[in-house]
């Protein structure tokens, strides 16, 4: 049984409208998205802005309520959970946000930020929580001296470590990492990625890794789905997908990534958005490799 199954997930937004405005338009942010994540997967959800990748991540945690579909976690559809039951479920599913500058409360000390989820969930006595926070700080490579500092006293990479420690506080099984390193400098990115991979092995974590950086996803993910305008257009084992990209959009996206070799031939493939058909179903095009073609 997969750890997480997302079935026919839909989230539409209505934009505009009003008494004197032109008729509203419907944005299909997430449009019938289906995929599953196995335990231990590093599942990369890739796309450009407006592809719906972040909304998909947020729908899974019900930070955004989807319109339709199922989010089955360990066999149970979390979309049917009551508020209280959902709160319990969130112990197992946590999120790390992109921007460590705006996602941490600037008025709270780092130690309190990491402790807060434990308090909210009523876990442990005060002394146990303090010990747990210290342990979490060690786990993400922060010093005990950092406990009493405020977010503004940390660098971007350190702040992201605080965000990760907070996400780990409740001992989750699944981490939705929404562009966790995009706001960081390259050398810092590498360190945070290394930490995420190390934690995966150590804590047996499963990740939904949301990103726009294909090079990064190719390097660290074992399975990948490519989103375009709310749809998954291609999905599969990372090796198969990157070796044999089949959907024209995937091909265009890959060909747009700058090569590190100045002598590499530039063969850019343009994707004609007018040729995009939302209704094209996914079909298996190889071993563990699907595309909507």
């Amino acid at each position: 049984m997969p750890l997480l199954e997302v079935r026919h997930l839909v989230k539409h937004y209505t934009r505009g409208g009003g008494l004197f405005a032109p008729p509203p338009t419907v944005v299909r942010a997430v449009d019938d998205v289906t995929f599953h994540i196995d335990e231990g997967d590093m599942f990369g959800l890739v796309g450009e802005s407006g592809s719906g990748k972040s909304t998909t991540g947020r729908c899974i945690l019900r930070l955004v309520e989807p319109d339709r579909g199922e989010v089955v976690f360990r066999g149970e559809n979390v979309l049917e959970f009551s508020r209280g039951r959902m709160r319990l479920a969130r112990r197992d599913m946590q999120i790390v946000f992109q921007d460590p500058y705006s996602s941490l409360n600037p008025r709270m000390r780092a130690g309190d930020i990491v402790e807060e989820p434990l308090i909210i969930h009523g876990l442990g006595a005060s002394s146990e929580r303090v010990a747990r926070v210290k342990e979490l700080f060690g786990l993400v490579g922060l010093e005990p001296a950092h406990l009493r500092r405020y977010p503004s006293e940390f660098s971007g990479g350190q702040r992201q470590r605080i965000g990760i420690a907070r996400a780990l506080a409740l001992n989750p099984a699944l981490i939705v990492a929404d562009e966790p390193v995009s706001a960081l400098d390259v050398s810092i990115q590498a360190q945070v990625i290394e930490l995420l991979l190390e934690l995966r092995a150590r804590l047996r974590l499963t990740y939904l890794f949301i990103a726009h950086d294909l090079r990064l996803v190719e390097n660290i993910c074992n399975r990948v789905a490519v989103m375009y305008l709310g749809k998954i257009v291609e999905m599969g084992d990372a090796q198969a997908l990157f070796r044999n990209p089949t959907h024209p959009y995937t091909q265009a996206l890959l060909s747009a990534v700058p090569r590190l070799d100045p002598d590499a031939p530039r063969t850019r493939i343009e994707f004609d958005s007018a040729s995009f058909r939302r209704e094209t179903p996914m079909r298996e095009i190889g071993t563990s490799h699907w595309a909507a073609v």
């Binding site: 050398s187 810092i188 090079r215 996206l253 747009a256 700058p258 090569r259 590190l260």
Partner: protein
Amino acid sequence: MTPLLDVQHLTIAFEGPGSALTAVDDVTLTMQAGETLGLVGESGSGKSVTALAILRLLQPPGKVIGGQVLFEGRDLLRLTESEMRAVRGGRISLIFQEPMTALNPTMRVGDQIAEALTSHGVGKGEARRRVVELLDAVRITDAAKRSRDYPHQLSGGMRQRVMIAIALACRPPLVIADEPTTALDVTIQAQVLEMLRELKDRFNLALLLITHDFGVIAEMADRVAVMRGGQLVEQGPVRQILRAPSHEYTQRLLRAVPGMSQR
């Protein structure tokens, strides 16, 4: 050959009460006409401050405390403010990362391009004609109609094209582009880079390209200068820097870039 731009021992400090922080420390760079120099570094490396100092756009407490910026035979640091105004946009122009904040939201984009021309002595009628030409050059379709749009009516990629049209309006020999594609999606970035390459050849532009992305460097640069903590740590031809970097910091930066498998 006399270089087009010759920055000698540029030193910039941010002066606080009783103390000063050296943001750029003894940086020497040269650029030939038509050349693309990639200036690479992480945040705080001093790469953007260097660019601002070349154009004398540094805001206090930032201050050039030493060095020269020789351009077309003159030291820009010694020009009067009105001479400098003729250089900015006329002989050297600047493309910013975020086109939404760099464009005037209350002005039609065509008028903003025209203003770049009229402020450098081009007549109004001539400017209007050139606006459409420039929008065509940056591959904006239906240029005449688009020139009447306001910035918010354009996509991010289109706004960046408008910025480039403004930068190129007076055919300057040098364009400084500070992370010109960082805010763009990768497919749009590819289009903008391709267009920049084409315009560079067509107008024989020298491009000082400031970026943190070695992929962009590999696609665009002839030579690369790597900055760290205000200092230039390494400088050389792009192939040498990417394939056999000699400085430990450059090696570390390159190792941190997720490698793309050979395709």
